[in-house]
């Protein structure tokens, strides 16, 4: 479904990705793991068009989307759930969700998806008129996930969804991501919490300084001595 070949990407004079190749098959949950600065977030940002690649090819459903504008890529069916500032803080919860469906014109479909998301996250329904910036970290992450789903994507990119969240909420959040995959949406997940991500995924890539150094199923990577030593604490 998503195929990246020899992607080179960078900011200023630095190079964050030095010829990265990965593949995500339809219906899979694929994880990118690795240390800080390995190029995980840059990969997602290049896929969704926020960082223009220097060379390499990104194909989605057979279509070349390398260097396309973010809104074109979203229109093809890739939604991005970025790390860091995940929501529009001064907008209400309802407005944040409406932003996710910004490009959609089918009002009945959008309304149905909104109901579905409120059903999935009752907490968001309760707070629909509240400014998103006043929600807790976990609630903001749920809102960010809901917003990404409002685009009705075929592939969702999650960037560090567990960052800064309390452990109980992290667990619930991973359950939500698993449920999204089960419902038929393909997922590409970037996580620093390597163990949780490897347990969750169908297939994983280990990134080091802008290159793929290991690839395989989640359980294969968990068993890999190099991965165990460097990322799973021996």
């Amino acid at each position: 479904m998503l195929e990246i070949r020899d992607l080179v990407c960078g900011y200023g004079h630095g190079t964050a990705l030095k010829g990265l190749s990965i593949e995500v098959k339809e219906g899979q949950l694929v994880a990118l793991v690795g240390a800080n600065g390995a190029g995980k977030s840059t990969t997602l940002r290049a896929i969704s068009g926020l960082v223009p690649p220097r060379s390499g090819v990104i194909r989605f459903s057979g279509r070349d989307i390398t260097g396309a504008e973010p809104r074109r890529i979203l229109a093809h069916g890739i939604a991005h759930c970025p790390e860091g500032r995940r929501v529009f803080p001064q907008m209400s919860v309802a407005e944040n969700l409406a932003m996710g469906a910004y490009l959609r014109r089918d009002r009945p479909g959008v309304a149905a998806d909104l109901d579905r998301i409120y059903g999935e996250f009752p907490r968001l329904a309760e707070r629909r008129h509240q400014a998103a910036g006043t929600l807790s970290g976990g609630e903001q992450q749920m809102l960010a996930i809901g917003r990404a789903l409002m685009a009705r994507p075929r592939l969702v990119l999650f960037d560090e969804p567990s960052l800064g969240l309390a452990p109980t909420i992290v667990e619930r959040m991973f359950a939500v991501i698993r449920a999204i995959r089960t419902a038929g949406t393909t997922v590409l997940l970037v996580e620093q919490n390597a163990f949780a991500a490897l347990e969750l995924c169908d297939h994983a890539y280990l990134l080091e300084t802008g290159r793929v150094v290991r690839a395989g199923t989640g359980s294969a990577l968990i068993a890999d001595p190099h991965v165990r030593e460097a990322y799973l604490g021996g």
């Binding site: 926020l50 970025p82 803080p89 910004y102 976990g138």
Partner: protein, 346 residues
């Protein structure tokens, strides 16, 4: 309360001449304040809702004033290579519409030129644009009379077929015209900000990378905002020209842009009522101070008031007052938080 406030303020402003009588000095101050407030409202659309600072906003105002004045006065100028362009006087109302269109077109041009990069670049482009337009108004004497000013600009005339026509010569009539146009602009901005387009504008200001990733076309959104903002400033300029009935290149003074920025920031940028409240306070403050102190002292007090407001309410009067009101209601809000369910579900 927040819905009621604009309606109450509008009713109060509409009744104001009944209470004050038609004292010309006061009415004049109210009219010019009203016109500047419309300018501040248009500036707020850009500065408050998209975060882009137009430091040449007066250019759109001045272009509106000159286009409207020249349309209603007529002109006959040589544009080079022996070609002459002549124009017979048209009604002032047509001038108003052309002023809105011309200012909007300039907003589009500036937006196209600068919104690919945004931020500081936009600030510099707008300042330069205002200065260039001022120099044209000053030096193209055949068209604008330069520093001699355009005089004898006709007042607005409105006619209904079969009912005769009215010419707005008195200050009272102009007061209600400005109030009407101001209300219209307020309603338009309120509608815009709450629409899908308004969410796109606010999204770009609050979190640009996220806004891009949900599919917002930044250049187009900002350009449309600049067009609407410039067109509104042009409307204000047209009102100004047909009210004063004389304009000179001083309408392009940088200081007026600064006044509008003070109105927006002091009142509360990014709020609907902010520029209105800020406009009325900073527009009428000199009027209130005039009977009690010398002009030099007035400006000192003006500065102190501005500093105090920004010190006590850094986000402006309207958000500051709203926060104070919310704090008054805090005990009740606290109860609902305690009663609501804990953060983790299932």
């Amino acid at each position: 309360m927040t819905r009621l406030l604009p309606v109450l303020l509008l009713a109060a402003l509409a009744a104001l001449p009944l209470a004050l009588g038609t004292e010309p000095y006061l009415l004049n101050a109210l009219i010019t304040t009203g016109i500047l407030t419309i300018g501040a409202m248009s500036l707020n659309l850009l500065l408050g809702y998209t975060g882009q600072l137009s430091l040449g906003h007066i250019a759109f105002f001045g272009i509106g004033a000159y286009v409207s004045a020249l349309t209603s006065l007529g002109f006959d100028v040589e544009i080079g290579f022996g070609y002459r362009v002549a124009h017979e006087p048209w009604p002032a109302a047509t001038g108003f519409l052309l002023a809105v269109a011309a200012a909007g077109a300039c907003g589009w041009l500036i937006g196209r030129l600068s919104f690919r990069v945004r931020g500081a670049y936009f600030v510099i482009v707008t300042i330069s644009f205002a200065e260039v337009v001022r120099l044209v108004a000053l030096n193209w004497v055949e068209l604008t009379q330069g520093p001699l000013a355009l005089t004898g600009i006709p007042a607005f005339t409105f006619g209904l077929p079969g009912l005769g026509s009215w010419t707005l010569r008195t200050k009272l009539q102009n007061y209600y015209l400005v109030l009407g146009v101001g209300t219209l602009c307020y309603a338009l901005i309120a509608r815009m900000v709450r629409s899908r387009f308004g969410r796109a504008m606010r999204g770009l200001k609050e979190n640009e990378p996220l806004a891009l990733s949900v599919g917002i076309n930044a250049t187009r959104t900002l350009t449309v905002a600049a067009v609407v903002s410039a067109a509104m400033a042009g409307a204000a300029g047209s009102l100004y020209a047909h009210y004063l009935r004389i304009i000179d290149p001083d309408v392009f003074l940088f200081a007026t842009t600064v006044t509008m920025v003070i109105m927006v920031v002091g009142g509360g940028k990014g709020t609907l009522m902010g520029p209105v409240v800020g406009g009325l306070i900073f527009g009428l403050l000199p009027v209130a101070l005039r009977p009690v102190m010398a002009p030099e002292a007035q400006w000192i007090v003006y500065g102190i008031v501005l500093i105090l407001i920004l010190f006590l309410m850094p986000r402006g009067i309207v958000p500051g007052a709203a926060a104070l009101l919310a704090r008054g209601r805090a005990p009740r809000a606290g109860n609902t938080i305690l009663k609501s369910r804990p953060a983790v579900q299932r």
